[in-house]
């Protein structure tokens, strides 16, 4: 193009242009890249595999003191060969980031695998449905189980949800719907409350209701402690969900002459229904495995208890607590079994929140 005349699009070339293949040249690996990165990964790996079998060095030392530095060195070398010295830092970050990811996955897999494999040994109908009456830690597997603990967990969690979910949702309604002057303070206190250690929640209920003789150690006392832990989770999640309800819905309903209360109860909350259910489930998931508060407020009981106000009661976490660190192998297997049952409950709650939030608004 000379700068003095114009050029217009040449329509006759359209067919030729249509033949062009879309490419991503930035993804192309040069031979230098391959020559640097492949050995950069394979050489440290080969050395470590060799040392793994033919050296007396302890395995953790091998991984931390030999493989990690070796892999870092190789990555830095490869990076310098391909992109120059400026990319050395990137190579280190990438290796460390992948390392941190693998570390976390190993921990998670170790956790899940041990729960599943060890817990599976305990599984039987007796284990799932019987209670712990007449069972001692040395009783062989096949008798006794977590039936009473499952009932206890369900009872305690249900009562705490009955208390904490309405209060949590109302707190959220205050923040997003009533919008009173105290909103920043309310949010601040809810956040502060979410940091209350579970053992302190237990101590609080113990002091106020049990020491004073108002209540005995029971499912209801445990549920009160649980609801302290559950409320902030419900309130914060519900707040986020209510915020997603479009402002138009509110103004629209108000314009039709609806009262503020009706707008909230008939329009806003139904619109955020799935989200509020999610909030409730998240709250339940937050507390279902809590042990410390129950050790103070509901103790343990080998029998199945249905009256939430009267007797001490065992829940899954306290059942695990009692059976860990027993000198009897079968008791330990029972602890793992109960852990598996508890983990399955947690997993179901987890999947529920995921599917619900994928479907509903958020």
């Amino acid at each position: 193009m000379s700068a003095t005349q114009t050029i217009t699009f040449d329509d006759s070339r359209l067919e030729e242009l249509a033949q062009q293949e879309p490419q991503a040249p930035w993804g192309r690996r040069t031979s230098t890249f391959r020559a640097a990165v492949i050995p950069g990964v394979l050489i440290p790996a080969a050395i470590i595999v060799g040392l793994w079998f033919y050296s007396d060095l302890p395995k953790p030392v091998l991984m931390v003191a030999v493989y990690l530095p070796l892999q870092l060195l190789a990555a830095v070398g490869a990076a310098i060969a391909v992109r120059g010295t400026k990319s050395a830092a990137d190579a280190i970050i990438i290796v460390l980031a992948i390392g941190a990811t693998i570390f976390s996955i190993v921990v998670l897999v170790s956790l899940l695998w041990s729960i599943f494999s060890k817990g599976w040994e305990a599984m039987s109908t007796a284990f799932l449905f019987q209670n712990n009456e007449y069972i001692s830690p040395s009783t062989p597997l096949g008798w006794g189980g977590v039936g009473h603990a499952v009932v206890g967990t369900v009872l305690i969690v249900a009562i705490s949800a009955l208390i904490a979910v309405p209060l949590g949702v109302m707190t959220a309604v205050y923040v997003t719907e009533v919008r009173g002057r105290a909103v920043p303070y309310v949010r601040f206190f809810v956040q502060a409350m979410s940091g209350v250690p579970s053992v302190v929640a237990g101590l609080f209920i113990f002091t106020v209701l049990i020491l004073s003789g108002v209540l005995s150690q029971s499912a209801f006392a445990g549920a009160l402690a649980y609801s302290i832990l559950m409320l902030p989770t419900v309130a914060r999640t519900a707040e986020e969900v209510l915020r997603l309800v479009p402002e138009d819905l509110r103004t629209g309903a108000l314009a039709l002459g609806s009262t503020r209360a009706r707008v909230v109860l008939r329009v806003v909350i139904p619109a955020a229904k799935t989200g509020i259910i999610t909030a409730a489930i998240l709250g339940v998931a937050r507390v279902v495995g809590e042990t410390a508060p129950l050790l103070l407020t509901s103790l343990k009981n080998d029998r199945t208890v249905l009256n939430p106000f009267k007797d001490p009661i065992t829940a899954l976490p306290t059942y695990i607590f009692d059976n860990v660190a027993q000198p009897y192998p079968d008791a330990v297997v029972r602890a793992w079994g109960a852990a598996l049952v508890l983990m399955i409950i947690v997993a179901i709650l987890f999947i529920l929140t995921r599917t619900l939030s994928a479907r509903g608004p958020r």
């Binding site: 302890p58 953790p60 030392v61 003191a65 990319s87 830092a89 280190i92 970050i93 990438i94 460390l96 980031a97 390392g99 941190a100 990811t101 976390s104 921990v107 956790l111 041990s114 729960i115 060890k118 309405p166 707190t171 205050y174 923040v175 009533v178 009173g180 105290a182 309310v186 206190f189 809810v190 956040q191 502060a192 979410s194 940091g195 209350v196 250690p197 579970s198 053992v199 302190v200 101590l203 609080f204 020491l211 409320l231 902030p232 915020r243 108000l254 009262t259 209360a261 279902v288 495995g289 809590e290 042990t291 410390a292 050790l295 103070l296 330990v332 602890a335 508890l342 983990m343 709650l349």
Partner: protein
């Protein structure tokens, strides 16, 4: 809140107060909204009331000495131990969480990152009693081996000294367990903070020829600093208050206070102290002592948590 929000909010307010049913509704909701305040105040008052007689009989030595033999009681070793465990947990969990979130936000393909997000959330959902069970039977034996090696190769560093030859029930193992619990909590915050680095800043950095490292160092980390610090402190609050997971892997020792021999058996944790002594508490006075210990634990975690939330909120990134 934008200005239009405030305006519509005023309209709604005037509409709201004009109706009697609404006034009742508003009052009920407002009352419920103060539950959090009531509970916090209740904990302070009721545990505080139990603390006064303890301080009267034990004096300040309740906080400054480390002993649990009638008639002398002091929780200094436990308070210190809680902090020590939290520091060990931070040293392990913070780098891992940051690197993990860098991987999820900046390195991994979208699909992988989504799977990792779910895995991290799942990890956060595992109850602490199960983590304690795992720590006691799976981690502790492995950890003993690691600590033996640390002592063997790095024993000349003061913190890796071990003279007893007993590597179980150490602050190291307990701190590691806390780290396992902190990693998902801290990661979920740091991932979100890093993910909210404005794309236009990343674009600007890319246009100036940044590398991953320089982009993190000069753009993403400074931009998200408040949120990152807040996230770490939220994790710290959780670590200070964690009870059961530590209970199984830490041997509670009052005397001598284990200040820095992190791979030596025995240490302290105030939350764990409460649970371990509660069942066998000999009489109402010892219960009061534990309630007082709980009061100081509450104050400590409340302080950390409030600071964390102030930092997070001031940067306004996690709250909409």
């Amino acid at each position: 809140m934008s200005s239009t929000d405030t305006e519509s909010f005023r309209d709604l307010q005037s509409a709201a107060t004009s109706h009697r049913g609404d006034r009742i509704f508003n009052r009920t909701i407002t009352l419920a909204a103060f539950t959090a305040l009531i509970v916090l105040a209740g904990i302070t008052v009721f545990l505080g009331l139990q603390t006064i007689p303890v301080l009267q009989t034990q004096g300040l030595s309740f906080l400054t000495t480390s002993i649990w033999v009638a008639p002398d009681y002091g929780i200094w070793g436990m308070l210190y131990g809680s902090v020590l465990l939290a520091v060990i947990a931070l040293v392990i969990a913070v780098p891992v969480s940051l690197l993990l979130s860098v991987f999820m936000v900046f390195l991994a393909p979208k699909g992988v990152s989504k799977v990792l997000t779910n895995l991290v959330d799942l990890m956060a959902a595992i109850p602490s009693v199960i983590i304690g069970l795992w720590a006691f039977y799976i981690l502790d034996p492995v950890s003993q081996e690691w600590q033996q090696l640390l002592n063997q190769y790095l024993g000349w560093i003061p913190i890796f000294k071990n003279t007893s030859g007993n590597f179980s029930g150490t602050p190291f193992t307990a701190g590691f367990v806390l780290a396992v619990m902190m990693i998902p909590i801290v990661t979920s915050v740091t991932r979100e903070v890093l993910g909210r680095t404005p794309p236009e800043l990343i674009n600007a950095a890319e246009a100036l020829g940044c590398s991953l490292w320089t982009m993190l160092r000069y753009v993403a980390l400074p931009y998200g600093r408040g949120g990152l610090v807040g996230g770490v402190m939220l994790g710290l609050g959780r670590a200070l208050g964690e009870t059961i997971a530590v209970f199984f892997v830490l041997k509670i020792v009052f005397e001598p206070v284990n200040y820095y021999d992190i791979i030596e058996s025995g240490g302290g944790s105030i939350a764990t102290l409460i649970v371990s002594k509660f069942g066998e508490a000999a009489g109402p006075y010892e219960v009061k002592l534990l309630l007082a210990a709980g009061f100081f634990l509450f104050m400590m975690t409340l302080l950390v948590n409030v600071i964390a939330n102030l930092i997070v909120n001031r940067t306004g990134r996690l709250q909409k």
